[in-house]
Each structure stands twice: as C-alpha cells, then as structure tokens.
C-alpha cells in the first residue's frame, strides 16, 4: 500500500526534528530515506510505524489515515537496526509471535512460519535461539517476523549496519529480492549512499528534517538538486572548483581557463561566483580542458586506480579509472576535465 506524509512535524521538547515534511511512497515501491545522522530519517520511520506520535500533519497508509492509530493497529512491519529478536524465544517462536497475538490456531501459524522460512532460507534455524545465530541469520529472522502478518508497509531501520562487509553485500540483494517477491511497500533508512542506491527504487535525501530531493538513484546522481545532494552521493566523492560566470562560459579561478557551459545550463549573470562540481569520472588524461597539477595521493582499488591531484591553483580533484596508468605520488600531470559532465552550482549551492 502507498504511504503519504502530509506536513508531518515532529518535535522533541524544544528541538524540531522534522519541521514540515511531505513525502509519498508508491505501492510496492522501495524508498530510501538517506541522510547524515541526526537528519530525522529514523524519527520519520518511527512516526510511520506508530512508535513516535506525530506533532502535526497527517500520515496515510493506503486510504487509511493512521495518524492517531496506535502502533499495534497500523499493520506495519519493522526491522530494527539491532534486530530486536526476543532472546528467550526460538526463531520459530519469534516469527510466530505476531500471529500468536492474533489468536490464530497453532497449525495455521506453523504452516505460515514454515512457508516464510522457506522464502527466507532459514528453515534449518527455526529451533535455534537468537544467541546461537550469526548476524545475517538474525537479520533474516527479524525480516521474517516483520513479514509474517503480511504488513501493509515494511520499514527497515539501518538493517545492514551491524553486518560485516561481505554479508552486507549478500543481504542487500536478499532484502531486495524478498521485498520484490512479497511486493511490500518499503522504506529503508540508511546513511550509506551505496545501500540506498543499490537497493531502492527511489531515494529521498534528507537534511535537518527536510526532504531535499526525491528521485531515482541514477537521476539523483546525474542531476542533484544542490551541492549537498551532489556531495552525499558518489564514492569517491565529488570535488569542487571555484569559478566565475562569463558570457561564453565559466572562468576557473585556479587556472584561468574558460570552460564552455554544459548543455542545459541557463544564462548566468556574468561575473557572479559559481562552483563547479567535478566527479572522479569526469577528470582524467583523456578530457579536453587541461589543468596542470601534481599527484597528491595514490590508492589502488585493484581493478581501478584512484588518484588525488593537487592543481596548481590549490584545489584538489580526484580521478578514478582503469586506464590512468601507473603514477607515483609527486609526479606532475596535466589532465583534463570533461565539460559535458560538470555539475554547476550557484552561490546558494543550487544546481544550475
């Protein structure tokens, strides 16, 4: 079912965590709430689940206004960061707990627990207690417990934060697969842009309780609304060069080079300061606008090399790629930037 937040507000004492949020999640969609810690993403999640009460605005799940409903009546499944499995129950009892509360008879409960366990590939774990399970297994059990009563909405609060790197990769695609197979509208809270981009249909990026932009991962990467979004997405991160608008293009402060405006950038008042965002893939030996510099740091990623280059004017750019050659720290280089892939921001940090 779809989720809609209308003018949602949440305060903690005098502190306004979320001032006025509007957000819509489509039926069957998986949306990421992405943002730095303290941006209000978990607050928003808990308000949808019913654990926190909204201080203003309405929350809709499907055609139901759930703003004043207690958590028990919202039919929302939540997977907590710490999994929050009941330590004194076996996996089977954990998963069965929500159904048991509804007074469904034992045989029926057992049947649906086993069905779901098959989907999540945890049939062999059902008699174990959480203490005897690995992090990934606990994660699957927590997911099963959230899904067992066919929730209208599934909420995931940093579900991968407590897993090691390899398991994280595996669970990323697992959660996505299960979400698709059960066709459950889901919200994923995360501060990890890779997670958000790889798992979700759309991303809502949050800062200080406000939705900055909602878009698909590739849209958001290619057309960030402002500098904050551009900086948040992408690894290694984007780098910025100062420039001044000119009639024909932008004049870079560091090298006194005129760069033509990228396609689609509107007229800018000549002389106004702008900043030019250069992603690592838009900087390298093959691009036309040459900038002299010196290799400042070298990182091997195995398949690719990552170079940080200090430009003559003092700025630092990063380049990543497999065709960059073997260079040492301190070597002078003269690489170029790709004028078509630049992201231009005005003095208010809004993208032009």
């Amino acid at each position: 079912m779809s989720i809609r937040l209308e003018h949602f507000t949440k305060r903690f004492g005098g502190f306004v965590a979320v001032p006025d949020m509007n957000l819509a999640v489509e039926e069957g969609e998986m949306l990421a709430l992405l943002g730095p810690s303290g941006c209000g993403k978990t607050t928003t999640l808990f308000a949808i689940s019913g654990i926190l009460k909204a201080d203003g605005g309405r929350i809709w799940i499907g055609e139901r206004d759930v703003t004043d409903l207690p958590a028990q009546k919202r039919n929302v499944g939540v997977v907590f960061q710490s999994y929050a499995l009941y330590p004194h129950m076996t996996a089977h009892e954990n998963i069965a707990f929500p159904l048991k509360l509804r007074g469904i008879d034992k045989a029926a409960i057992d049947k649906s627990v086993r069905e779901l366990a098959r989907l999540l590939e945890i049939e062999t774990l059902l008699e174990r207690r959480p203490a005897n399970m690995s992090g990934g297994q606990q994660q699957r059990v927590a997911l099963a417990r959230a899904l067992i009563r066919r929730p209208d909405v599934l909420l995931l609060d940093e579900p991968l934060a407590n897993l090691d790197a390899r398991l994280r990769l595996e669970m990323r695609s697992e959660i996505r697969r299960i979400q698709r197979e059960t066709h459950t509208t889901s919200i994923l809270v995360t501060h990890d842009q890779v997670e958000a981009m790889s798992m979700c249909d759309r991303i809502a990026i949050l800062d200080k309780g406000e939705v900055i932009q909602v878009a698909t991962p590739s849209q958001m990467y290619a057309q960030p609304a402002n500098r904050f979004v551009a900086s948040f997405l992408g690894s290694p991160p984007i780098a910025y060069l100062d420039a001044k608008a000119d009639t024909q293009g932008m004049r870079l402060t560091c090298a006194d080079v005129l760069v033509p405006w990228p396609v689609g950038v509107g007229a800018v008042e000549p002389g106004s300061p702008i900043s030019v965002g250069v992603r690592p893939e838009a900087f390298g030996p093959a691009f036309p606008v040459r900038l002299p510099g010196r290799i400042a740091a070298v990182e091997s990623h195995g398949r690719e090399m990552l170079y940080a280059v200090d430009l003559a004017g003092g700025s630092r750019l990063r380049a990543i790629g497999s065709g960059l050659g073997q260079l040492d720290q301190g070597e002078p280089v003269e690489w170029g930037i790709d004028p078509m892939k630049l992201l231009i921001f005005d003095r208010d940090e809004v993208r032009l």
Binding site: F80, S82, Y83, A84, Y86, F97, P98, L101, R145, R149
Partner: protein
C-alpha cells in the same frame, strides 16, 4: 612454583582464621545431642533430650511446627508480595511515563537508606488501628513495605538492561503494553527476580524485630521470636535446647544458600547474566 607456594600460604592462613568457626560449628552440633558435666569441655553422654521440642511443646510455648509454618507463611508471602510489587513498580519507574517519576525514584532511594527501626512505633500504631496487630498479615505487610525500596531499585536496575527495541518490536507486532511486559520483558529479567526472591526469603526467615514487636502472640509467632523467648526464659534456661532450636532454625538458610549462592550473586553483580 612461586604461585603454588603463595597458594599454600593463603590456604594455611585461611585455614587458621576459619578454624575457630569450624570448632564453633562442630561444638554447636555436638552440644545439641550430648550433655557435658559442669566444668568439663568433653561431652559424656549421647541424648536427644534437647530435640524434644520437635515432638512435644513445652508448657506455655507454641508447637515448633506451628511456629515453623508461621515462618514459612511469613517469609513466603512477604517474598511473593515483594516480587509482585517490585517487578511492576520497577518496570513503571524504568520504562513508563508515570507522573512524578523523578520524585518516586528519589523517594525510593531515600527510603532505601532510611533506618527502618525508627518507624516501628508508627507501624505498631497503624497496625493496631486497622486491627492487624498480632496478625501474621500485619507483619507481612510491614516487612514487605520496608523491603520494597530495595526491591524496586534492584528490579529497576534489571529492567534498565533490557533493550528498548525489544519493547518497540513487541508493540509493533501488535502486543499491548501489558503483554509486552509479561511475555517479552519479564522473561529477560528472570535472574533478577530469582535473586530478589531468594534474598527476600532469607531476609524474611531471619527477620526478628518486626514479628517480635508486631505479632508476639503464641499462635502467630515465628521461629526467631520463639528462639528469643527461649533465651529470655530465666526460670527454665537450657543452653542445649537453645542450640538445638537455633540449628533447626538456621538449617533451611544453609540449604538455600548452598543451592542458590550463584543466583544471589547476580543482585550484587547487577547484570542479566545468571
């Protein structure tokens, strides 16, 4: 080598210091089943005279079995009551948004440090007013009330170790707050309940002042009062009987302590690991 030597030294020292205790215990045991001539230290005759109280009550005294029953009722009921109130009040103070929470917390702490003996006259007057003087129920209430600050504080400590997420998950799964407490939180603090229960049984069993002052009558007497009456009896004083009753009185505590000492330690450790 050196550690072995050190252990040996420690063992010898411990042995020497505990020797008087061992001697006392042995002589206690011996004295209850033997007689010793005045001026001598060596017992001369085996007898069960001192244990006669087990099958025949001395004139004017209650039967030991009624007294034992009273003691069990007293220790048992005050423990049950203490557990019931501490486990709920501790939860309320730890987790619920109750009005005056800070005030109650501070009150519990202050009461915990309060010398309870000073309250005994007030308690006596109150019990007499409501007709519970010389009634086992009255002492049970008084004992529980005085132990509650400690009990509540300990239970609150245990509740504080239960993660919030477990309660959130329970609520999300559709459980009422009461079900969450009963089915999800309470099982987590079982070691704490266990420890507090044993602590309370032992404390109730050894309580003397309260029953002595609030319920001295024969038919509601508990063992500690019975024992004290023996020593107060100037006309018919018998050390052997006193020791035999003392042993009878202390035995259950020994047994409880032997079996449950690990569990009891969790109170002082304060963790949830049992």
């Amino acid at each position: 080598m050196q550690s072995k030597l050190r252990n040996l030294v420690i063992a010898v020292l411990l042995g020497l210091t505990s020797l008087p205790l061992v001697v006392m215990l042995i002589s206690l045991l011996l004295d209850t089943v033997t007689t010793t001539r005045p001026g001598s230290l060596v017992p001369d005759r085996f007898t069960l005279d001192a244990w006669q109280f087990l099958w025949s009550a001395p004139p004017g005294r209650p039967s030991i079995w009624i007294t034992t029953f009273n003691t069990i009722v007293f220790a048992g009921c005050s423990t049950l009551l203490l557990l019931a109130v501490s486990s709920t009040a501790g939860y309320a103070l730890a987790r619920l948004n109750v009005p005056f929470r800070k005030f109650f917390l501070a009150g519990v702490l202050v009461m915990h440090a309060f010398p309870t003996v000073t309250l005994i006259i007030a308690i006596f007057l109150i019990l007499q007013m409501i007709g519970l003087y010389n009634h086992i129920g009255g002492v049970i209430l008084a004992k529980t009330a005085l132990d509650l600050p400690l009990g509540i504080w300990i239970m609150k400590g245990f509740y504080d170790t239960v993660p919030w997420e477990i309660e959130m998950a329970g609520v999300q799964d559709g459980a009422s707050r009461f079900t969450v407490w009963r089915k999800l939180v309470l099982p987590q603090i079982k070691p704490g309940l266990m420890a507090l229960g044993i602590f309370s049984v032992i404390s109730g069993w050894s309580e003397y002042i309260l029953p002595q002052v609030l319920a001295p009558r024969n038919d509601v007497q508990v063992l500690s009062v019975y024992l004290a009456a023996l020593i107060n009896n100037d006309t018919h004083f018998d050390f052997h009987v006193f020791k035999a009753v003392g042993l009878f009185y202390a035995l259950p505590i020994f047994v409880i302590y032997l079996f449950f000492q690990n569990k009891l330690m969790t109170i002082y450790g304060g963790g949830t690991k049992g």
